[in-house]
Symmetry: D2
Subunit: 429 residues, 4 copies
């Protein structure tokens, strides 16, 4: 974001456009929660999951804390304690309410949270209709950041809703009317060649990007090959059938400890019924689609699968080299599958780089050379998480299309599985 | 209950009366939940707490499992999986859904649970209007057990609601219209003398009692003295002021470990604000009433207080000897305080034996000589909990009046504090 | 011990005798450790176990802390820090070194500990040769307590050594020259009848007893029957074969949780090799002796076995009634089996009441009516452990014969198994 | 190691030389343990620490498992169970004895372990005097690997001995005769400039290197600056005095959680006595030397310090660029300080790159492009640990001099502190 600070003053038309976009993004969050019952909004099914009503409030809090309070004269919070309850992890902005206790709070209830949203939305409309002149640039940059933040939470909402409903032996569907997957057969993997050399990696230019995508810098990349599509459920089943989860030589030491301690024998949400594999999806329990990309695997499982397949995961630089000249097309939130699906082949260049599943890379999430976090509390957005996590690239079936780009760095701890994460193979040329 | 098996066949008038009582008890449970928001019904604030909607469903399940399924021909469950979801701990009746996960289940929602209740209520009305002749006695006994069970859960509902709301920094009141405590000054403790000898302890006769209260048997009780009232908040404050929580010599070894590990320095729900003690109650946060009985203390704290005061806790036999010729009057659920209150003195015999707070006794919860649990799954009701728990006597401000009696044995693990529990002093004569 | 306070001044002959006994008891502790390697002295195999060199030092510390420091003018400790390192749990006497960390301390080494013992022994000889007149009675009482304390640790040493060596896949024997078990066939259980009534329970009179055995008081005991011998390994095998560990209806709720969480399917130290049961003993791994008493079972297992056998555990009062007129004969430390063995039948009255294995009773370890702990730090000896534990009676094959009596109350938490504990059946007459 | 496979057949002189080196390295391990008491050899002070006698046995096991068993005809193990007890983590070579239980095993004792060493040494002498011709090259490579492995454990032994003795309130010195630190004043940091570009990183050529140091490959490195010496205790004290441990904005999120959960306020082994900082060293407790390099800090602390100082940690490539043309001189095991010391300034190029303390880098421990682990069980040596760890460079005061080189990659989890680890600052040019 540091680079954005040098942008010029916004025109009125830009403000209008931004307000429009603000309303659109805000509406999408509410549309995502519309199919839920009140009770569904309250559950925290594990410490990493947040209750949907917390998400709805927190993304409003972000606008209140970083825009309304500093820039809207005379702004009155709806309830001062919300600043504590809905602060996620900004230690330099008061004391966040403990994450693992978010599911212990029944009030404010769902209706109260919507009242809070309306309160913030009205005030944001006021702010954007006549922003204080000297701060207009910073305000627009922060609004954009707030919208990108809300889009991240739209994906988190869908991940968390899936996890919450999957705890329930009733196995309720989030929506029965999701768009069904196309029936497509996936051919054997074909390899695309990429020539190495010094490459420019990271974001530069006008469009929005998170601070962690900058600065654009040079990396030396060796020649490599990348598979033309994602690994499928069918391929992953072969790995399981070959004893993949029982062969220590395929696993990182931490991974081997993890699968044994947790008793993992298959991806998250897979269930065996009547001698056939099924999968819990946002449309309820479904027979496993062998041509669809494998999803809800940890980094450890992705890494072990790649080793078993005689390949490896791509580095994030390799992935970015491959993706940088591909169009941003794919199975996103707007496709309304909310589940990865098989792709139509053949395809110019590697398919499924964007959408379907986040692709685990071989790269630890660490700062780029010369990285500088944003100033103030917003500097806590990305930088402080740069330890113990791996980078994932490309977005997934729950990511809003306008949210993703080739330089986007997502990150999760290597044992996490509730995000829509899969893998693509790479190897030396 | 073993003794109930010999009762005679019920008359039709008895059935009518029972159905009336059934409706009344069932209505009370719903009245208790009426002030809650939907969201409040979903929370499990610690593993020992259950979400209110789980309570509402479980007490209906009890009638389904032990009456409708065995005795009502053609009974159809509303949803077969409820038998799994709402079984609390009856291992011999299928596999109970794991207790600690009750708060992870958003469906069935509150409205569904009420539909389940109505379904059971209709079927129970059918069963009680024309019970199969040969089982009528057993049916009536089980209905009575089911109602006593529901009354236990009425108290549990209030304990759990208090705990759920107390987690919330908003400190919401369950009800703003509860009956306020009378302003009464408590005099110094006076001691009542009781002469020892062989005494009959436990339940016998026609009325209802749980299996663990039987058989009536003889115990030798030494001469003893019992305080004329409960220990007050004011007295407990003196214990705190005297360094009670910092003096290892006052504590059982397990208690000393517990208070240090948990960081306890006062009863549960006490909070210090602006240099004054307050207490979270079902009416919200209130200044501490120094004349009211101390409440929400663990056995360890009760035991340490008694040692500090140069006294001890009564044994359950001593308590029963004192209570057996006292009228069952006191501050119960029906008093609508839902909080222990000071008592009007003087009083014939010890005051506050019934109601206000459960009184920790010095006795471990173990079977009486000759104890036999009920037959079948109902045998799991009490007997299997006879380890690691202490007996409490007398009922509390959340106990329905018709539920308590002098022989009633309540039990909790010694570190538990969320029940309405306090203490009364005893000593050698 | 309160009752001991009234004893008269000791004669010189008594002092001589006490010094003799002092030397004898001290020598026994060292004889117990003689077969160990230096390395064996250092291990703490679980938090409940102490390294043998810690035991050797702690039992010397007891004499230093409670006799030498208060009563021997000019006494100089060998090292002041030992007072911290070897204080077990006397919170009112300084800060005990954390129990779970005893195995992290390599120094003082074994030779240093023996130097400490000699230092204490020399000073104790000085003290006993000319005790200050006005304290002579108290000194003699404390010496006796110190010796009883050391005898308790002799049994603990053997329990702990067994546990330490049993962790080792080499399965080393503590001693290869232990006296082998007699080959004796145990007949079916026969029942002895006991008539109920008001009975006197607990210690009174001149001999030594711990404070928790007092005061002698009355209890009402119903008629009961007691088995004529302990439950055998063969009988316990039938319980296992009958699915005892898989039937929830046989278990207390806490016991059921414990065996499932810990994965218990047999007593501690049992191992299955080549389709036959073996048992780790102080003489190494041995085939299971089906006629020997079952040992190393928890209270939960003893309780479940009794339920399976259609019987129950005796209360501690019942046990004491039965034992009070039996001679104190049995398989003790001095028998040099260090393992329970089958008994020669028939027998006047119940056999094996003393020695072989501690017998779990149905009684929680709580104070007798009118109980008063010793004054000062010694009051922490017993009283503060009176929660969460069950009483065991009768001593075992590792108990010094002179240490046990009919009123002796041992106690362990219900899940503990590393002590030599078994059971005897009781039932209603 | 893959690259070593192409080396030519060894000459006899090489074998002689290797045997000589074998004896020397083996003798060093025993010299390290010579000052220990038998009891010290048994302790495992935390799961990451191993008892010294385990180290002594394990480094012998390595030769048995990977050389004697496959290549010495007729080799008889001293005890077959040692193969289980002393396997550290080679899952493909039998089942390793659980790491956290190494401290529960008193036998084999210290004398037995030395017998095992002699047994292995004799057999190794046999093998090296006439190795089977067709395997001679592989044998020599494995012997070298075994010796490098033993050198790693020499450093681990010193780390573990320090940790073991530091648990003890007696604070015993490992050796009183260690060489004292020179009294040297450290000037302010000066910065060395390094010009960026494509650089070759990693090992190539004849000498020994671990597989994880290969293959040599290109990386693009930006211009950077490196401090001319390590961060000192004095500088680190300023960080503490400035509230470093209380300012969330200086810390990675995982680091902030770690220091708060563990209660860290200073490096490991620092203690405050009489208002002055002291440090537990292998020579016992010493006043903190303000000019000596700070040591025993976690990655999180190193990272937070660097942020506080307005700088950052170097990447491992940057470090290697700087070190690759520096002589391998420094404060190593052979210097006999066994503690980092101040350096004599000025210095050609950055000082203290080798020896004193391992330098935390900013780089996660991940495979180099094209990395291939060794074949078979030896492939578990490095590769499987490539997750969740950070790279450290340069060796320390406990590293044998012949063991280190500029390409050497050490790795630890970011919260680990018991290794001799400190830091050097870097920044953008």
């Amino acid at each position: 974001m540091g680079n954005l600070a040098e942008q010029a003053q916004p025109a009125l038309a830009d403000l209008d456009f931004l307000l429009q976009r603000f309303r659109q993004v805000r509406a999408t969050s509410e549309a995502i929660c519309a199919p839920l019952q009140v009770e569904d909004h309250v559950i925290q099914s594990m410490p990493d999951v947040s209750p949907p009503k917390w998400h709805l409030a927190h993304i409003s809090w972000f606008f209140e804390a970083f825009l309304l309070k500093p820039y809207l004269g005379g702004y009155k919070p709806l309830d001062p304690i919300y600043d504590h309850l809905f602060n996620s992890y900004y230690e330099t902005h008061g004391t966040p309410f403990p994450r693992a206790r978010r599911g212990l709070i029944s009030r404010p209830g769902v209706a109260d949270v919507y009242r809070f949203r309306q309160h913030v939305d009205r005030a944001m409309a006021d702010l954007l209709s006549s922003p204080p002149r000297q701060h207009a640039g910073e305000i627009m940059r922060r609004v954009e950041l707030g919208l990108q933040h809300e889009q991240q939470h739209q994906e988190l909402l869908l991940m968390d809703i899936k996890h919450i409903l999957a705890q329930n032996p009733l196995q309720p569907a989030y929506r029965a009317d999701l768009k069904p997957a196309p029936k497509l057969h996936q051919d054997r993997i074909r390899w695309h060649d990429f020539t190495g050399g010094v490459r420019h990696i990271g974001h530069a230019g006008d469009g929005f990007a998170f601070d962690c995508e900058t600065p654009r810098h040079r990396q030396f990349v060796e020649d490599f090959q990348l598979a033309d599509r994602l690994v499928t459920n069918g391929e992953y089943l072969s790995f399981i059938a070959d004893g993949g989860y029982a062969r220590s030589d395929l696993w990182l030491s931490d991974g081997w400890a993890q699968i044994n301690q947790a008793g993992w024998h298959a991806p998250l949400y897979w269930q065996r019924h009547d001698d056939a594999w099924h999968e819990m999806t946002l449309a309820g329990l479904k027979p496993l689609d062998l041509d669809a990309p494998v999803c809800h695997v940890s980094f450890y499982e992705a890494d072990a699968y790649a080793r078993w397949a005689g390949a490896r995961l791509p580095s994030e630089a390799e992935w970015e080299v491959a993706a940088s000249d591909q169009p941003r097309r794919g199975n996103f939130l707007e496709s309304d599958h909310l589940q990865p699906v098989a792709t139509r082949m053949p395809h110019e260049g590697p398919a499924q780089l964007f959408g379907d599943v986040w692709e685990w890379t071989a790269s630890a999430y660490r700062p780029y050379p010369g990285f500088r976090p944003l100033e103030g509390s917003l500097g806590e957005y990305n930088g402080k998480f740069m330890s113990g996590q791996m980078v994932l690239r490309g977005g997934c079936c729950a990511t809003p299309e306008s949210h993703i780009r080739a330089t986007y760095r997502n990150f999760f701890q290597p044992a996490m599985r509730w995000q829509f994460a899969g893998l693509r193979l790479a190897r030396e040329l």
